[in-house]
Structure formats: structure tokens, C-alpha cells
């Protein structure tokens, strides 16, 4: 019941998704516009949110009607920010002092600019401290601070402890005038607390002066000669009348003319949570992980037109869904209290990119030949169930999280839910549409590319002989071989080069440097955007050369000098100066101003920029000041009261009086260098230094490169670049961990390319283009039998043409060397009469491979003996003498119409001149061969089926019932199935009249339940009966035929796979699902059936029910071979890619890029050992992990030859066919494993 409902639900969902996909693909532009509009609408509320960041927030109120805000929020005051509750941490009252010596006098030294103005701070301080308004003193109102933090011992002398938080430049001298006067070098005192190098927070100088370092005017090259500093008072409670009276008093004492600073606004500054380095590191880590996640996810997008475009779309989908969720939440009144920056990575990870990737994969794996609309719809509906299931699961998890009732988690869950839903929406509309556009573009591009290519190559897929024709390996011309071979040889490089290669390949250094720089800048900007500027400015202004003059520290000197210094004792006294005096002085000087001004008298001006000078400070100014006393401003606020301006004018005489004796000893300033010039110079210096360092670095690297790398670095480097796992089947550096010592055994003897290979584990039969069949012992590699083909008249197989093409142009130059070649042939003389028949062919091939027989093992005696023994060859030899002429004739026949026999996809055309004429079947070539026991079954192009005795080389029986060429054979138990070119399928039964022969078995059974090979003794009379012929098994030629587990499976050009029962040749199923001809089929004892087609798809079928289990789109181009293990499917395609799929889920585990032309050869030795062929080598791979275990080179002569066929024998020897040679490779360790 439930299942039915679930099924119905599933169907409904899938139908809905299908319709939706159609919709999206049909109207891409309106849908994208619609989604963009909805994204923008949903994000609109975000405009109201404050920008994320840690910068302080301000709120301004009037001073007059100020009252401390209450803790309860008042609903009516909507403009009030919600942090503006309760009393502030402190009220900051700043007294801004501007002081100047005026009129300026040429007799004054540069130090006078700031010595006496700074000296006046003590009197102002005294005034402030002693100010009393109706029994209220500063002591009562100010913020009392206790100890500094223990880590700040060095600041103890400077910052106040155990008392009012009142800071001024006077703190440098412990607020003592006598210390100030005794200080021989004020600048050094001020700068000695400055941190060296990089600093990102407020410095001590900023704290004490209360104005940005540049504006203090405390340096020797100040043009304006006005010193500015503040006295900062932190008040714990606000008493309006006290502050007002203090203001009035100071104004009265030091009136500032034309000062129009506004005094009616109080600014409340709210500080957000601190983000220190300590918090930043986890944050940065999470972001790094996030980016890695996005990178690795989007890297998986495959088989689309523009990878980057889709990756971007995926990221946009996720990000905008997050923004939408925040926007929607704010719209409905849920203000985010969480730190957005912190939870953001986790939100992305929760929402994830998986759905997007799954969608892409699903759409991409739909059949290519469908219309784009349908592909999108199909892809969507295929994945609909899993998408919905995932979504439901995630929602459930989040719901569980919501019921933890932890506020932070609840909020996170809320955001995540909204994010998930909006992400789903965007996936369905935005991403699907983008995907459809992309797929459409890809199809257009494919179409464009394919059209000219197909026009240029008339027979792209010669139909009937597909499986054998897979090696149209673009036979590497000698030229390319010589290019490739050195590249392989040179790869064993010295160690140092490998290090350099490694570094160069990964670009390690550059990447590290880049990442480091980016992180550093990021930290700098994030923590202190304003501070960066201040820092640079301060750094530049502090570059004064005098600051570094090696003078003794003032504290050490101070006690020594006071007695001997007349000025200090003098000026020590006037601290309690009568207040009216400065007023007069300043008044008088201001009056005197106009006359002297033209020279260069300092002007004290007050402008609106002075109103809130604290704004120019680093925004960490106040937090760091309070943090020294372990008071945090995070999530709290301070109120900054309007500044009190104080103007001080000092007479030159006063300046001279307060001089320290050492002041005049300073070298006269290198005067013309103004500070601006300084700035420029320092900047230039820094720039020049940087440039220089860069150039040196480049030169150094270049030298290193020159020394370490050879000239051909670039050539070798290219194949190395961006190497992924398993890129090269033949290990780049020449070796890899071997399973054990493996030495391949070469089997030579065929004169032409080997066409068919068959084996039953003990014996190995091979057939070459000329029709020779050789039987080898699979254990030792000895050649047991040779069955020559004497009637070579119609060697009309495709491979032969290829060769002839090659011969055409060499034959001319080889004509004169023919004779010489004859005599060099070592086997030629010994073989004798029979050998003459095949002589022409062999003669032609010998010059191409002169070293062929040089290191050959002693095979020649074997050949001799076999020829001597084999009785049937005598009978055959009679027809062979006119061979040379026949060959010539055959060539001429075929020359004009080479494509005739193999039209691309014709209705079966019989080879035009089938030989009904003479006694033998020698005029046709062997198209298929099978070996069971000691019987070799061969299917010929003439449609004849022959059975040979493998040991004796005698023809046991033949059947000529069919006329159409046999394209594939299957030999199982005592049945033979032959597939013919015309699409018919013949079932034969092999009958042995003497049943005794079946009793003895040769060798142990191989793997699993493979039936043992029966041995037919030579006395038996064997007959082969056609039991049934299925005339129209397929509409088009049968390309593949496989038999196992009592089933025969055929694949054909007509896009279908058919399953027959072996016993009664009854057709069980016709499997439809491919959209191209079938090119590969795999079936084994466990009834696993997989098929691959020309469309690049791989289908896995259930043989019992005939239903399709899974369907993946794997290759661009034909699937050339297929193998299954219990857990995975291995496929190879014309794109030279070997893909490993999970059998149950159909997920691609990984893929291995093969060399050109070697893609088709692969085999599975055991559950976890895969063997693939390469360029003159075979490679072993660990299937579970995708590791390259070992590469075995098959011999030096085979370097350029690619392995075209690969056969895995039961005793784990591997037979490879490359060119005319066979190679036996034993894998002993696998044997141990099997036992």
C-alpha cells in the first residue's frame, strides 16, 4: 500500500519536474528576467541593514536636553538605535589646545616650535584638575581607573593608574613640569613608545595627544608652527553644570577668537564586537575551507560548454539565495543578531552546491540526440526524487535543530530554512535555465565542429566489423615515434631537476607568496581600515633624521641636569601662574598679529574640521584606550561631549626662556627639506627598494632556472603541467611500485598484424591478417602449432588495406632490396617449401623491422618441427603455388573500390565475390575465432565455420551452411553461435561421436564456475550441425556477440541488444535503450549484462527481467570496451578515456586518460586489479584506489606500437597484441592472491 503511494508520489513529482524542465528550457529569457527581479526584490530590505563590519556606529543628540537613556526601550523613539540604552561607558570631554609661538622670530630654533607650547599643558592640566563647581570636583565625576593590564608594564610610567582617566601629552613626563624641563630631547621621549614596524591599532602618541599624529605639529619641520593636542577626560557621570562651568572657565582663561565651534551636539559612538586576530583566524579558516569546498565542487562540472559559466551560475545561485534569505527575514521583522560573517560559511555548506551539480550531471547524461528541451526535462525528472528527498531530509534536520531552543541555533536554523527554500527556487528556475542555455550552446558548437569533420572523412564508422576495427589507431608514423621516444627516455632526470620541475609545476612559491600577501592585506584592511592611513602617515612623518640621533634616554639624563639648568628652575615655578596673565598676553599678541604675520608667523585658526577631530583618529582609538584598563567597549557605547577649544599664544621670549640647553645644540635643520619633500622621498625610497628587491628576485630566479634547467625545459614541461592522477598510463618518471618482478614473454612468429586472439586458459590461438593461425602454450609461450593459410587470395579484411596503403609507397624503394631480404631471413631457408607461399608477404615486412629476429628466443626450431609434423599442410600446399599472382590480382580488384565491402551502415552486403569455386576455404579471411579445449572454431568471411584441432593443426570439421560472413563467434560448452554479416544468428552443435573424449579435463578450473574445457582427442569424429538459424535476428549487422551463463547476447547496428537462451536458441529479450549502434557488451557468469553504444552511453541490464538497471552517459564517442567487476564497471571509449563507475549507483568514481589509440585495451585480472594497454607497455592499476601500480614495458622494439588487444587468461597471464607480436605477461602475485 505504502509502496504504491510512494510510487505514485514519485511519479507525480517526476512528472511535475518534467513539465517544469520543459517550461524552463522553452522560455529561458523571461525566466531569467523573472528570477533576477525576484532576487532583487528579496534583497531590497537589505539596503536598510547596516553594512556588516566592525566599524563604530554613531548617534547624535543635543546637549541641552540630554538625559541618560533608560535601559528600557521606548517604542516611540523610532529613530533611536537599539544600542542606545542605559548609560554609556564614559563621557569623553576633550580640551583641544592649539598653541603657537608668535610672532615667529628668526632667532628661534626649530625645537621652540613645540617646547614651550607643550610646556603649557601642565598649567592647563592644573587648571582642570583644580576646577571646582559648587562642591563638585573632577575627582568626583571622572572615570576612576585601576591597574593597567599586566601585559602593559612598559606603559605604566605613561598612562594614569589608580585615579582619574585623564590623558594628555603631559603624561609623557608623568605630568611633572620639572621632568619636562629637564628633558633634553622631547621628540625622542615622544617617539620612544611608538612601536617599531607595523602596527594596526592606535599608538600611544595618538592616545596621549588625542589628535592624529600628523596634526600635532610636534616635529622639527612643521610649516605651520602650530602645536595641537588635546587633554582627554573620561567622565563616569554627566553633570551638565560642571562641564559647562569648566568650559566657561577655560574659555575665559584662554579665549579663542573667531572660534565658532558648535557646542550643542553630543555624539554617541557604539562599538561592535571586537574582531581581533584571535577571532579572525578561525573566521579566515572557515572562509578558506569554504572556498576550497566551492572550488572542489565546481571542478566536478563536466561535459558542458562553459565550465566557468556554470560554476559561476552555481555560486551565484547559492550566494543570492543566502542574500534572499536574509532579506526575507528582515522583511518579516527578524533582525539578524548573529554575526553574519561568522555564520555565512556554515550556511553555504549547509545549503551546498550538491543539488546544482547533481542537476548538471543528470542533464548531461541524458541522450545527446534528444532535443535540448527534452534533455533538460528528462534530466530534471530523473533527479527529482533524490532532490526532493534530500531537501526533505535537510529540512528535517534543521527542524530538529530548531527544537534545541538555543536562541543562536534557532536563528541559524531559521535562516537556513529560508535559505534552503530560496535556494531550491533559484535552482529550479535560475540554474536550470542557465543550464539549458549552456547545453544549447554546446550542441551548436558540436554541430559546427562535426559537420566539416564528417564531410572530410567518408567512412567514419564502418559498420559490420566494428569490434575488430576499433584499432584504427592512427598508426603513428615513424616521425612521431621518434619524437615521442626521446621524451619518454629523457624523463629519468636528476634529482635536482625534479625538485625544480616540481616547484615549477605546482608554482608553489608564487602561490604561497600571493596567498600570504592577500591574507596580510585582508587582515590589515579588515581590522583597521582607517588605521592604515594613519599608520602610513605617521610612519612617514616620523622619518625625521633627528629622531634617530643617538642621544641618551631622557630619564637617565633628567636627574643629572636639573641643578645646572637655569631655565628649568625658572620655568618650573611659573606653573601656578596667575590666570589673567596669559589672557593678556594672548590678547596682546593677537593684536600684534597683523604686523608680523607677513613674515611667517604661525596662525591659529579654528574651523569646522576641529569640531570633531576625534573622527580622524583610528576607530580603535577609544577601544584600545579603555582596553588598557580591561574595560571593553564591545557592544557598548561612549558619549563624546563637544570639544572645548583653548588657544595659547606664546611670546618668543617665553619660548627662549623655556629652552633646554641641549636644544640649541641640535644641528640646524637641513632646513630646505620640508616634511612634504620628506614624505615624497620616503615613499620613493620605499618604492625604489621594492622595485630593486623585485628585480633582484627575478634575476635570482632566472639564474637559478638557467643553472638548474636544461634548454628543453619547456618541451618537457608541457606534458607535466597540471597533471592529475592517472594522467599518463606509462608513468612519467619511468617507474612506479611494481607488484613484483614482471618480465614479459614475447611471442613472435606472425608476419602480419594479429587480428583475432582466443584462449581458454591453457592454450592461446592467434590469427593474423594473412590467415595464419598459431597456437601457443599459454604457460610457457611455446608455439605449438601453426595452421598456415595457403589461399590468400581474398585477404579482404580492413586491416590489410591499411597495410597495403603503407606498402604502396615503400614498395618501390624496396623492390631492389627484395633479394637481399630473402637471404637475411633466417627462418626462410629452414622452413622450406611451404614457406614460399607466404613468402611475398613476409619479405615485404622484414625490412621494416630488421632487428626483429635479432634477439628472438629459439622459436625457429619449434616452427620447423611443427611444420614437419603437421600433416594437413601437405594437402593444403598444393593450392598455394600460384599465390603471388593471386595476391596481385586481389589487390587490383580491391584498389578501385576499397569501401565497397564495408559501407558505413548498409543493409548487409555480401562480399561481392564469394568463392563458390574451389575446393578450399582459403580464399576468405578469418573474421572470428574461438578456442575451447583443443578445438579452434574459426569463422570466415565466406560464411564458413571451421573447427580445427589446436594441437595437431588439422581441420576437424567445417560447415558451409551460411553464405554471409561470420562476424562474431561464441563457443560455449558444445555449442557454437555465429553471428553473420546479414544480421542472422546461427546456432551450431558440436557432436563428438566418441564420448570418451569428454572425460578428461585439462588443468584445474580457472576462475569461479567457469566450465572446464573438455579435451577432444584426435580420434574423435567431430561434426558440427546447424541446429537453428535465426534469420533476422537484427535489422542490421551484428557487431558484438557474447555468451555466458547459458545466454547469448548480441548487439547490433540497429541500436538493440538481444538476449537468447543458448539451449533452445530462443530470443528472451530485446533490449532497447541505446541511441546508437551497440559497440561493446559484457556478460559474465553472474548474469551481469552491460552494453555500450556509439552514443557513448553505457546501460546495465537485468538479464532475468530485461529491465534497465542504470544508464550513464560516459564517453564522447563510442564505447569501445566494457568490463564489470562485482562493484564497478570499467568502460573505455574512443575518447581514450577509461572510466570506472560504481555498479550499483552509476556514479563515476574516476577516470584514467589513456594514450591515443590505446583506449580500447583493458582487462580485469582480479577484483581490484585492472590492466590497460599503452604505447608499448601495459599498466596495472589498483581499482579500488585508482593507483597506478606498475607499468611493464613489453620490449624495446615495441616502443611505438600501441597495445590493441588485451586478453586476460585464467592463470592471470595477460596477452597483449601489438602489431604482429604477442606478449605474455605473468602477474605472479595475483596468482598467489587467487590461491
Amino acid at each position: 500500500m505504502n509502496e504504491i503511494q510512494e510510487e505514485r508520489l514519485r511519479q507525480n513529482i517526476s512528472a511535475a519536474f518534467y513539465r517544469h524542465g520543459l517550461l524552463c528550457a522553452s522560455y529561458p529569457v523571461p525566466i531569467i528576467l523573472f528570477t533576477s527581479a525576484s532576487i532583487l526584490t528579496c534583497c531590497y530590505p537589505l539596503l536598510k541593514l547596516p553594512l556588516p563590519g566592525t566599524g563604530p556606529v554613531e548617534f547624535t543628540t543635543g546637549v541641552r536636553d540630554y538625559s541618560t537613556p533608560s535601559h528600557e526601550s521606548q517604542g516611540d523613539l523610532s529613530e533611536r538605535p537599539d544600542w542606545y540604552r542605559g548609560p554609556p561607558v564614559a563621557y569623553i570631554q576633550q580640551v583641544l589646545v592649539k598653541a603657537a609661538v608668535s610672532p615667529w622670530d628668526n632667532s628661534l630654533v626649530p625645537v621652540d616650535v613645540f617646547r614651550s607650547p607643550l610646556g603649557r599643558v601642565f598649567s592647563v592640566l592644573e587648571e582642570i584638575r583644580n576646577h571646582v563647581y559648587t562642591d563638585r570636583s573632577l575627582e568626583a565625576l571622572c572615570l576612576q581607573v585601576t591597574d593597567l593590564l599586566p601585559g602593559l608594564r612598559r606603559m605604566q610610567a605613561v598612562l594614569p593608574e589608580h585615579g582619574c582617566l585623564l590623558v594628555s601629552p603631559g603624561n609623557y613626563w608623568q605630568n611633572r613640569r620639572d621632568l619636562f624641563d629637564a628633558d633634553p630631547d622631547l621628540l625622542k621621549t615622544v617617539h620612544q613608545h611608538e612601536p617599531k614596524g607595523l602596527h594596526t591599532s592606535a599608538t600611544l602618541k595618538d592616545l596621549l595627544f588625542g589628535v592624529p599624529g600628523k596634526q600635532t605639529g610636534v616635529n622639527l619641520y612643521s610649516k605651520k608652527r602650530v602645536v595641537t593636542y588635546t587633554i582627554t577626560i573620561a567622565l563616569s557621570s554627566y553633570d551638565a553644570r560642571f562641564v559647562a562651568s569648566l568650559r566657561a572657565r577655560l574659555k575665559q582663561l584662554h579665549p579663542s577668537a573667531n572660534c565658532t565651534l558648535r557646542e550643542d551636539h553630543m555624539v554617541h559612538v557604539h562599538f561592535k564586537e571586537e574582531i581581533g586576530i584571535a577571532e579572525l583566524i578561525p573566521l579566515v579558516t572557515t572562509y578558506i575551507i569554504l572556498f576550497a569546498y566551492i572550488y572542489f565542487s565546481t571542478r566536478k562540472i563536466d561535459m558542458v560548454k562553459s565550465k566557468w559559466g556554470l560554476a559561476l551560475a552555481a555560486v551565484v545561485t547559492v550566494l543570492s539565495s543566502l542574500l534572499m534569505s536574509v532579506g526575507l527575514c528582515t522583511l518579516f521583522g527578524l533582525t539578524p543578531t548573529l554575526n553574519g560573517g561568522e555564520i555565512f560559511p556554515y550556511l553555504v555548506v549547509v545549503i551546498g552546491l550538491e543539488n546544482v551539480l547533481v542537476l548538471t550531471k543528470s542533464v548531461v547524461s541524458t541522450p545527446v540526440d534528444l532535443e535540448v528541451k527534452l534533455r533538460i526535462a528528462q534530466g530534471l525528472s530523473n533527479e527529482s526524487w533524490s532532490i526532493m528527498k534530500n531537501m526533505a531530509t535537510e529540512l528535517c534536520i534543521i527542524l530538529i535543530g530548531y527544537f534545541t531552543f538555543v536562541p543562536a541555533i534557532q536563528e541559524f536554523c531559521l535562516f537556513a530554512v529560508v535559505g534552503l527554500v530560496s535556494d531550491f527556487f533559484l535552482q529550479m528556475f535560475f540554474f536550470t535555465t542557465v543550464l539549458s542555455i549552456d547545453i544549447r550552446r554546446m550542441e551548436l558548437a558540436d554541430l559546427n565542429r562535426r559537420l566539416p569533420a564528417e564531410a572530410g572523412m567518408p567512412p567514419p564508422k564502418p559498420g559490420p566489423l566494428r569490434p575488430r576495427e576499433t584499432p584504427p589507431p592512427p598508426r603513428p608514423s615513424p616521425h612521431t615515434i621518434t619524437l615521442q621516444a626521446p621524451a619518454f627516455r629523457n624523463l629519468r632526470l636528476p634529482k635536482r631537476l625534479r625538485v625544480v620541475y616540481f616547484l615549477a609545476r605546482t608554482r608553489l612559491a608564487q602561490r604561497i607568496i600571493m596567498v600570504g600577501t592577500v591574507i596580510w592585506i585582508g587582515i590589515l584592511v579588515y581590522t583597521d581600515p582607517a588605521g592604515l592611513r594613519t599608520f602610513l602617515a605617521a610612519q612617514v612623518s616620523e622619518q625625521s633624521p633627528l629622531g634617530e640621533a643617538g642621544l641618551p634616554p631622557h630619564l637617565g639624563v633628567a636627574p643629572v641636569f636639573p641643578g645646572g639648568d637655569p631655565t628649568s628652575t625658572l620655568s618650573g615655578l611659573p606653573a601656578p601662574e596667575p590666570t589673567p596673565l596669559p589672557e593678556n598676553q594672548s590678547q596682546g599678541h593677537r593684536a600684534a598679529h597683523p604686523e608680523v604675520a607677513p613674515v611667517s608667523s604661525p596662525q591659529i585658526t579654528w574651523g569646522p574640521e576641529d569640531e570633531e577631530l576625534w573622527r580622524r583618529l583610528s576607530f580603535r582609538h577609544w577601544p584600545s584606550l579603555f582596553s588598557y584598563y580591561n574595560i571593553t567597549l564591545a557592544k557598548r557605547y561612549i558619549s563624546i561631549l563637544p570639544v572645548i577649544p583653548v588657544t595659547l599664544h606664546l611670546s618668543p621670549q617665553e619660548a627662549i626662556d623655556t629652552r633646554h640647553p641641549q636644544d640649541t645644540h641640535h644641528a640646524p635643520p637641513p632646513s630646505i627639506k620640508t616634511s612634504d619633500l620628506q614624505t615624497d622621498l620616503t615613499l620613493y625610497k620605499v618604492a625604489a627598494l621594492g622595485l630593486f628587491a623585485g628585480v633582484v628576485l627575478v634575476l635570482l630566479l632566472f639564474c637559478l632556472y638557467r643553472v638548474l634547467c636544461p634548454r628543453n625545459y619547456g618541451q618537457n614541461g608541457v606534458p607535466h603541467g597540471r597533471r592529475r592522477r592517472g594522467d599518463l598510463p606509462c608513468d612519467e618518471y619511468g617507474y612506479s611500485p611494481p607488484i613484483s618482478e614482471i618480465s614479459p614473454l614475447l611471442l613472435r612468429g606472425h608476419s602480419m598484424d594479429i587480428e583475432c586472439l582466443a584462449s581458454d586458459g591453457m592454450l592461446l590461438a592467434s590469427c593474423c591478417l594473412v590467415g595464419h593461425i598459431r597456437v601457443w602454450d599459454a604457460q610457457t609461450g611455446d608455439c605449438l602449432t601453426v595452421i598456415p593459410n595457403n589461399g590468400l587470395r581474398r585477404s579482404s579484411s580492413s586491416g590489410c588495406w591499411e597495410h597495403r596503403d603503407g606498402w604502396d609507397h615503400i614498395s618501390a624503394c624496396e623492390a631492389e632490396s627484395l633479394l637481399g631480404a630473402d637471404f637475411r631471413e633466417p627462418g626462410g631457408g629452414a622452413v622450406g617449401g611451404q614457406d614460399v607461399d607466404i613468402f611475398p608477404i613476409r619479405r615485404r615486412t622484414t625490412p621494416a623491422r630488421p632487428a626483429l629476429f635479432g634477439d628472438q628466443p629459439d622459436l625457429t626450431p619449434l616452427i620447423d618441427t611443427n611444420f614437419g609434423l603437421s600433416p594437413p599442410s601437405q594437402a593444403l600446399s598444393s593450392s598455394g603455388f600460384d599465390f603471388g599472382g593471386l595476391v596481385e590480382k586481389a589487390y587490383q580488384e580491391h584498389e578501385p573500390s576499397p569501401t565497397l565491402a564495408f559501407p558505413p551502415s548498409p543493409p548487409p552486403v555480401l562480399p561481392p565475390e564469394l568463392p563458390p569455386q574451389n575446393n578450399g576455404d582459403w580464399d576468405s579471411s578469418v573474421w572470428a575465432m574461438e578456442l575451447r579445449g583443443n578445438l579452434i572454431a574459426t569463422g570466415r568471411s565466406s560464411g564458413k565455420l571451421e573447427l580445427w584441432d589446436a594441437v595437431e593443426g588439422s581441420l576437424r570439421c567445417s560447415n558451409e551452411d551460411g553464405v554471409s560472413g561470420i562476424t562474431a563467434l561464441a563457443f560455449l560448452n558444445n555449442r557454437i553461435v555465429a553471428a553473420r554479416l546479414n544480421g542472422s544468428l546461427d546456432f551450431f552443435t558440436v557432436e563428438i561421436t566418441k564420448p570418451l573424449g569428454l572425460l578428461q579435463y585439462r588443468g584445474p578450473p580457472g576462475r569461479g564456475s567457469l566450465p572446464p574445457s573438455p579435451c577432444y582427442s584426435s580420434e574423435d569424429v567431430i561434426s558440427c550441425q546447424l541446429t537453428r538459424s535465426v534469420q533476422c535476428a537484427h535489422q542490421k549487422p551484428i557487431t558484438v556477440l557474447k555468451a555466458a551463463a547459458g545466454r547469448v547476447v548480441t548487439g547490433s547496428q540497429d541500436h538493440t541488444v538481444r538476449v537468447y537462451r543458448l539451449e533452445d536458441s530462443c530470443c528472451l529479450f530485446t533490449l532497447q535503450g541505446h541511441s546508437g549502434g551497440i559497440t561493446a557488451i559484457y556478460i559474465d557468469q553472474t548474469m551481469v549484462l552491460a552494453s555500450g553504444g556509439q552514443d557513448g552511453t553505457i546501460c546495465v541490464w537485468d538479464v532475468l527481467t530485461g529491465s534497465r538497471v542504470s544508464h550513464v552517459y560516459g564517453h564522447r564517442g563510442d564505447v569501445t570496451s566494457l568490463v564489470c567487476t562485482t562493484s564497478c564497471i570499467i568502460s573505455s571509449g574512443l575518447d581514450d578515456l577509461i572510466c570506472i563507475w560504481d555498479r550499483s549507483t552509476g556514479i563515476k568514481l574516476y577516470s584514467i586518460q589513456q594514450e591515443v589509440g590505446c583506449g580500447a585495451s583493458l582487462g580485469v585480472i582480479s577484483e581490484s586489479l585492472l590492466v590497460t594497454g599503452g604505447q608499448g607497455c601495459v599498466s596495472f592499476w589498483d581499482l579500488n584506489y585508482g593507483d597506478l601500480l606498475q607499468t611493464v614495458y613489453l620490449g624495446q622494439s615495441s616502443e611505438g606500437q600501441s597495445v590493441r588487444q588485451l586478453l586476460v587468461l585464467d592463470n592471470a597471464a595477460i596477452v597483449c597484441d601489438f602489431g604482429s607480436e604477442l606478449s605474455l605477461v605473468y602477474v605472479p602475485s595475483v596468482l598467489e592472491k587467487l590461491d
Binding site: L152, I277, I289, S297, V406, R498, V499, Y735, S1127
Partner: protein, 219 residues
């Protein structure tokens, strides 16, 4: 290609054994080094997370204090990570059931992110009581295992190592090497085993993924 294979028909006469050994060990060493670094890095970051829970403002020399306070902690974590990360693929090989579930780097990254998130939650989110916190974290850890591992062997190893690590921590705290602010499970916080478990799963995941990669870095 090796020189020997060029000189004769039968390639690789004596080189391969040595090269195999060096290559295997090299591979192993590289993996161990990477895992070690991952462990050290995670330990530093997560330690920072734990430290900052109590302190909002730092004196300027906070960095040095963090790095000097428990210098032995990151190397310990790194070593443990290397061991666990090598143990997981090795165990997979021995048991003969390779890890199948979504073997992709993106998934590993996701796993690491979730692990950091769990730590983040344990450090930053204010729970009503410790039991709730521990339960939540336990659920999250098991969820982590279910999402990214799902192998019984992984679960078993994770539990065993988490128990061992918890024991070790108990011993360390008992001997006064360091201590937790508000212990509620003998001497330690009760969520510690969950964190250990999640960490083991994460590092095991990384180790398995690293085992898939072949390093062609040879000397």
C-alpha cells in the same frame, strides 16, 4: 622509463624494489606530513576558538601568548592526526572494504567545515546547560559520521579513539597539566568526547582522500 628497461628486453632488473620502497615510503611520508600540518593547523585554530570564549579583548601580545601557552598541544594533535589519517585507509585496505561514499575533495571540505562549525558552536553558542550542549554536539557528531562516512569500521575506530583520547585528557588534567574552566565530567567538559569523535571522522576522511592521490614526488 627506467634506464634498465631501455637496455634489455626484460625491463626493471634491480631498480624497482628500491624505487618501490622509496616511492611507497615517500608517499607515506608526504601523506603523514600533510596530515600533521592539517592537525597542527586545526589544533591552533580550534584552540583559539576555545580560548577566546572567555576573553574578548586581548593585550597586544596575545598572539605570542597563544602560541606559547601550550606549545606541546599542536604537535600532539598533528601527530595524532597523522596517525589516524594513515590508519583509516590502512584499515580499509586490511578489511578489504574500501570507502565508497562520495570520495571527493568537495565532500572532504564540507566535512572539515562542519567539524569547525561544531567547534564553533561548542565555543560560541550559549546553551542552557551542559547536558544540552553535550547532547547537541553528540547528535551533530553522529550526523557528521552519517553524512560523510557511514562505514562501520570508521565509526568503531572513531569511538575507540575518542574514548582513548578522553582518557588521556582525563589523565593530563588529573596530573595538572592544564584544566578546564567548568568541568562537569570528572575533570573535563562532557562534550569533549564528541569533539574527539568528530575530529577522528574528519581526519580519517582527509586521510582516505589523501590515500587516493598519488604523489609523483620522487627523489
Amino acid at each position: 622509463m627506467s634506464d634498465s628497461s631501455l637496455s634489455g628486453g626484460a625491463p626493471m632488473h634491480r631498480g624497482p624494489y628500491i624505487s618501490m620502497i622509496t616511492n611507497r615510503t615517500m608517499n607515506l611520508l608526504i601523506r603523514a606530513a600533510m596530515l600533521f600540518m592539517v592537525g597542527v593547523f586545526l589544533a591552533l585554530v580550534l584552540n583559539l576558538l576555545q580560548v577566546q570564549r572567555n576573553v574578548t579583548l586581548f593585550p597586544p601580545d596575545v598572539i605570542s601568548s597563544i602560541f606559547s601557552s601550550a606549545w606541546w598541544l599542536p604537535p600532539c594533535c598533528g601527530t595524532a592526526a597523522a596517525l589516524i589519517g594513515l590508519l583509516y585507509p590502512c584499515m580499509d585496505r586490511r578489511l578489504g572494504e574500501p570507502h565508497k561514499l562520495k570520495r571527493e575533495w568537495s565532500n572532504v571540505m564540507r566535512c572539515v567545515a562542519v567539524f569547525v562549525g561544531i567547534n564553533h558552536a561548542s565555543a560560541k553558542v550559549d546553551f542552557v546547560n551542559n547536558v544540552q550542549l553535550s547532547l547537541t554536539l553528540a547528535a551533530l557528531s553522529v550526523g557528521l559520521w552519517w553524512t560523510f562516512d557511514r562505514s562501520r569500521s570508521g565509526f568503531g575506530l572513531g569511538v575507540i579513539i575518542a574514548i582513548l583520547a578522553t582518557l588521556a585528557t582525563q589523565l593530563l588534567v588529573y596530573n595538572g597539566v592544564f584544566q578546564y574552566t567548568s568541568p562537569d565530567f570528572l575533570y573535563i567538559r562532557s562534550w569533549l568526547p564528541c569533539i574527539f569523535f568528530a575530529g577522528v571522522i574528519t581526519v580519517g576522511n582527509i586521510g582516505r582522500q589523501l590515500a587516493l592521490v598519488n604523489f609523483y614526488f620522487q627523489f
